[in-house]
Amino acid sequence: MKKVKVATAWLDGCSGCHMSLLDMDAVIISLARKIDIVYGPLVDAQEFPEDVDITLVEGAVSSQEDLNRIQKIRQRTNLLIALGDCAVTGNVPAMRNSIPVNKLLQRIYVEGAQEGKTIPTLGVPPLLKHARPLREFVKVDLCLPGCPPPAKSIVGVITNLLEGKKPEANLTLKFG
């Protein structure tokens, strides 16, 4: 049987959701018989591949780079899952949203800095006005809220999808 291609991606988030993903411990071995993890912080691939079956995305869309990435991911993914609160609601990254970007950078890199008081520009993607959840930019097929979502839920959703069941009915998560 052909293995299901799964990717993960990490936008503006703390990586906690990926940690939670790893928390599935030994289950990953049995899952690995059915899926290939083709892209993500946990694997080596440099370029997001074409025709991915499922992608789990952690984090909010916060910078222009995040936006480009999520659009590419959407184009190349069959089923897109927003993984965790940042991807679903904006969560902590969105707490900056009521502050104008230039003020924010000024406060952190100039007023708050001990040395080298300049706002970095080289190699840093420009921030969008707001950090916003994935859904406000691309179509999201499934939301897995939680900060982070428990490993169990993540496994549950993936297993359900592999078995061809509708995953949402089995969600018993708290929102936020």
Binding site: G90, A94, S98, R132, P133, V140, C147, L173, K174, F175
Partner: protein, 237 residues
């Protein structure tokens, strides 16, 4: 004085309830659940959150269970796809209106808004977030008011006016700019009328009003105490 008993149907089941009771009271007395957010037993209902809307046969509009008095022969539907949808929209709108960041909230895990969202099966909202810039009032020695988490249910306003009799709280401005204020829009810590009783904090369904010094997930509200206090008052009266 013995109150007259009326017969009504809730979700098809015939129950009897006292004249003068609201649909919500009648349902509760008969073990029927109707979801609520702004209602708190013991306080005057205001019908603000529209979570408790029900369908009443023969009435074209949806009615809030908390303020609608029962009538003989009334038939009430408490659950339908439409009611669920509309309740969900109400909760979704509350979630996008202000900055509800559960992950860093003192009430995470003990929040009525959060649990209502879960109960209604909300895993995402379909509306764009507002991200308003809102202050928090930290001036009170024991309590905080964080407008980011306020859902304008006015439980604090009512508990303070009706049970404590201090009438510290009110709502200022209108529409999307409406906000809870203490006294005449003074800092809470400088309020002359506040008795520091903390009833408002216990009545608040979210983390908007909280005790100082609580970390994330640590603020567990004792709204039962409000209920029993109200009940005692009623008995005394």
């Amino acid at each position: 004085m013995s109150q007259k008993k009326l017969s009504i149907r809730i979700d098809g089941e015939l129950i009897s309830a006292l004249e003068g009771q609201t649909i919500l009271e009648a349902a509760k007395a008969n073990g029927k659940y109707i979801p609520t957010l702004c209602a708190l037993e013991g306080l005057t209902p205001v019908g603000a959150c529209r979570i408790c809307i029900v369908e009443v046969s023969g009435v074209g509009r949806l009615l809030p269970a908390c303020t609608t008095p029962i009538q003989e022969g009334m038939s009430v539907i408490t659950n339908s796809p439409k009611l669920t949808l509309y309740r969900r929209i109400s909760v979704e709108l509350l979630l996008v209106e202000r900055n509800h960041v559960c992950a860093v909230c003192v009430s995470n895990g003990h929040c009525e808004l959060q649990s209502m969202a879960t109960a209604l099966g909300i895993s995402t909202v379909r509306f764009a977030y507002n991200y308003p810039k809102l202050p928090a009032d930290l001036s009170h020695p024991r309590f905080v008011l964080d407008h980011n988490r306020c859902i304008l249910c006015t439980r604090c306003v009512r508990v303070c006016a009706e049970l404590e009799g201090a009438h510290v709280w009110n709502i200022t401005s209108r529409g999307i700019h409406a906000r809870v204020v203490s006294d005449l829009n003074q800092k809470w810590g400088e309020s002359a009328s506040c008795t520091n009783c903390g009833k408002c904090v216990q009545a608040c369904p979210t983390g908007a009003l909280a005790e100082k010094g609580r970390a994330v997930e640590e603020m567990v509200k004792k709204d039962d105490s409000i209920r029993s206090l109200a009940h005692r008052r009623e008995v005394q009266a």
